[in-house]
Amino acid sequence: MTFNTGDLLYIAPFLVLAVSGMLLVLAEAFFTGKDRTALAGITVAGALASTVVSIVLYRHLGPTSSRLLFSEMLVADRTGYVLSGLFGVVAALAALLAPSHQRTHGWVVGEYYGILLLTASGMVLLAQAANLATVFLGVETMSIGVYVMTALRRRSRRGNEAAMKYFLMGAFATAFLLYGMALVYGAVGTTNLVQIQQRLVSGNLGLLTVGSFLMIAAFAFKVAAVPFHMWAPDAYEGAPTPVTAFMAAAVKAAAFAAMMRVFGQFMGGDKLPYGVIGWASPMVVLAALTITVGNIAAIRQDNIKRMLAYSSISHAGVLLVGLCAMGLGSASGKAAMVYYLIAYSLTTMGAFAVVSYVGSKDNERLDIEDWAGLASRHPAAALAMTVCLLSLGGMPPTGGFFAKFYVFKSAMEAQDQQLLWLTAIGVINSAISIFYYLRIVTAMYFKDARGEIATTRSAGLVFVMAACPLVILEMGLFPNWWLTL
């Protein structure tokens, strides 16, 4: 075992995020004055720098080449760098959302920025993990950071309660994740995913099955899949909106990045899922439940943040369909998942940016009724929200449409057409979901405003509100390039 300093180059996205996160924590300690906007600027710079480094490394590696780093603890490949780049962008967007929200709602805390980047560094670790130990470390680096971010609005009782619920549920899930990893380790005698892949057939079947099921349950907690979703609506509602956006977009994407590594890539393959370990059989059930229950619960919500929380639950279900397709040997599964993660993350950031924009001091305007007549008062914001909602509902010509289309198409290609029924459930639910997304659109365009709607304005917020819908439309109109990533 030797330490190869050349490997450091390949984890540069992680290093940039971790180092700038730590510098920001230090900077916040020495920061005088009440305005923390300068910290947001440094955060955006750090996050985008890591995205640039990811792009450079992406171009440096060939389309199919991969390289194991640090005694096979991490792996460098193109998928990993695409997702690292995405996490950098989402972290930058979350940093842009924060200053105006903090000022308006009176929770000016500089710690947000440092922790944001440290959390993102955990996500990058997940995207590059090649060992159960690094998966665990990445999940925890990410989760602990998000617990803190949820709790940052210290005087808000709702914020505290959300953080408590999120923490207890998350820590509980972590224990299941670890016990599952312990059993898989016992079955195959290594935590190295590359070697696990080789020893799957010879390992102890009972331990492998129980271990992988426990790991699936734990990841289902992290991505808020039904029946492990109970914490999500509360945590999403109680957390400050920029944190909710980051949780819904990046944390979910990172947990799926880890699942794609562990289940899709290393424990998947052409013959494994139904045969030797059968992890796909609980996964398809989870997927069907998650899509349906998430959608039906979303219909009943009047609070926009809770509605988006349930909508994100049903999106997790669609992503699980893609994961099953990937595990069942669908060749296009991985590209479809990556496309979906990018489209979904940007759409979510855009939607929550508008939610943040529409709120004002002492009135967050989270009830759908509060959005009545938004289009006549703030047409641009209403338009941005409409594009994001259409994308979430999977309507053309947005990225959300092709995301769903490609995931379901890859599910059709799974071996022996085993996922045909799941695809049908997914398509029916997409139609149902249009109903509650259009409820917001109807309120914005066809109802009369009940008075002046004061908003929260800042250049960063407006940029996110403009950029996300534009990129989503671009993804929908010219999807081909995004699929080659």
Binding site: L137, R155, N160, A171, A175, Y179, G186, T191
Partner: protein, 103 residues
């Protein structure tokens, strides 16, 4: 008697500890007790990892357990901070009474 204690005993002990921890999380109302139960679960998993590491003669498991101990400590620090914040606002830490957010 001690001679008969093998890997199996350690694994069963760990499974029991994990089950006790799970029951504690699901049944107890006090946040501090729930956090102790979660610690119990993590340590049960650690014991399992260490037992398997000895069985397989693999050092990777030992280092994994060290990582887990460090991470669990970090997690509990954050958890206790959240408990303090909750306690300041409500003077109690009973999870059943935390219901401001809609269900």
């Amino acid at each position: 008697m001690l001679m008969n204690i093998g890997y199996g005993h350690f694994l069963v002990l760990a499974a029991l500890l994990f089950a006790i921890g799970t029951a504690g999380v699901l049944l107890r109302k006090n946040v501090l007790i729930i956090m102790m139960s979660i610690e119990l679960m993590l340590n049960a998993a650690n014991l399992t990892i260490l037992t398997f590491a000895r069985m397989h003669g693999d050092l990777g498991g030992h280092s994994f357990a060290m990582v887990v101990i460090a991470v669990a400590a970090a997690e509990v620090a954050v958890g206790l901070a959240i408990v303090v914040a909750i306690f300041r606002g409500r003077r109690h830490v009973d999870v059943d009474k935390m219901n401001i957010l809609k269900h």
